[in-house]
Amino acid sequence: MDNALWAFGRMSGVVSLVLFSVAVILGILNRSGRPLFAIPRFSMTLLHRNVSLLATVFLVFHIVALMLDSYAKLNVIDVFVPFLGGFKPFWQGLGTVAFDLVLAVVATGLLRHRLGQRSFRAIHWLSYAMWPIALGHAIGNGTDGTSKWFVVLAAGSLAAVGAAVAWRLSANFLETAKARQGGLS
């Protein structure tokens, strides 16, 4: 039973990380205003939201499994307050920071209409901080953090998210960029 919890806790963390990578990439695609292949823009927003929620569910599985596990023995304080853990407090603390950021980003995302655009956007920027912090936590804290398959997965995710961020920062990022630069033909 204990071994199963331990394995489940680790795997759900990996699944969550992959889903958060997809969530960031979908968020960026959303922001570009482009539909993806045949998926219309309004479905893209819903997809971004749902993948984010699914990633959060796996993150909760990850945390709860490691709270119940007799080896990791996370307690409620470790879950919310970073850097106090008994085992690798720095790397575990990064996980706690990432979780706190996820809670803020998801809660404000769901309450967007009540909060207004300004507060929503201000908090939503934190998602760009959250992702690398979560990746650092996975590499530094994880039992598998430096095993070959995980390093390959981490490098792949970094390349994908990195490419999306580079595209985000490029001049022709917005669907309407050309027209608005006066390039109407």
């Binding site: 959303n30 922001r31 205003g33 539909p35 219309p40 823009r41 309004f42 927003t45 819903l46 967007r112 209409h113 207004g116 655009q117 669907e175 309407t176 027209a179 608005r180 109407l184």
Partner: protein, 80 residues
């Protein structure tokens, strides 16, 4: 009661979700901004929404990435 889809131009960024959801009501101009296909009272910013389009209009209000849309009853004339 007819409702009016009010587009707040100070917020809209022409992302085109509303034009996808309401293809019979809105078209996109060259810069991506939505424009009513048919003017309502000579106004192409505040189209009237027929009952058949109400659900789609609510979706658009909910999903607009800039929170630029609102549905208002026809009598309460929105600002132009």
């Amino acid at each position: 009661m007819t409702e009016i889809l009010h587009i707040d131009w100070t917020r809209c960024d022409g992302r085109g979700l509303c034009t996808e959801l309401l293809p019979t009501v809105l078209v996109r101009d060259d810069w991506g901004y939505p424009l009513a296909l048919q003017a309502t009272n000579g106004n192409r910013s505040n189209p009237a929404i027929s009952p058949g389009n109400i659900e789609a209009a609510r979706e658009a209000v909910h999903l607009c990435p800039k929170l630029a849309l609102s549905l208002v009853p026809e009598q309460a004339k929105p600002r132009q």
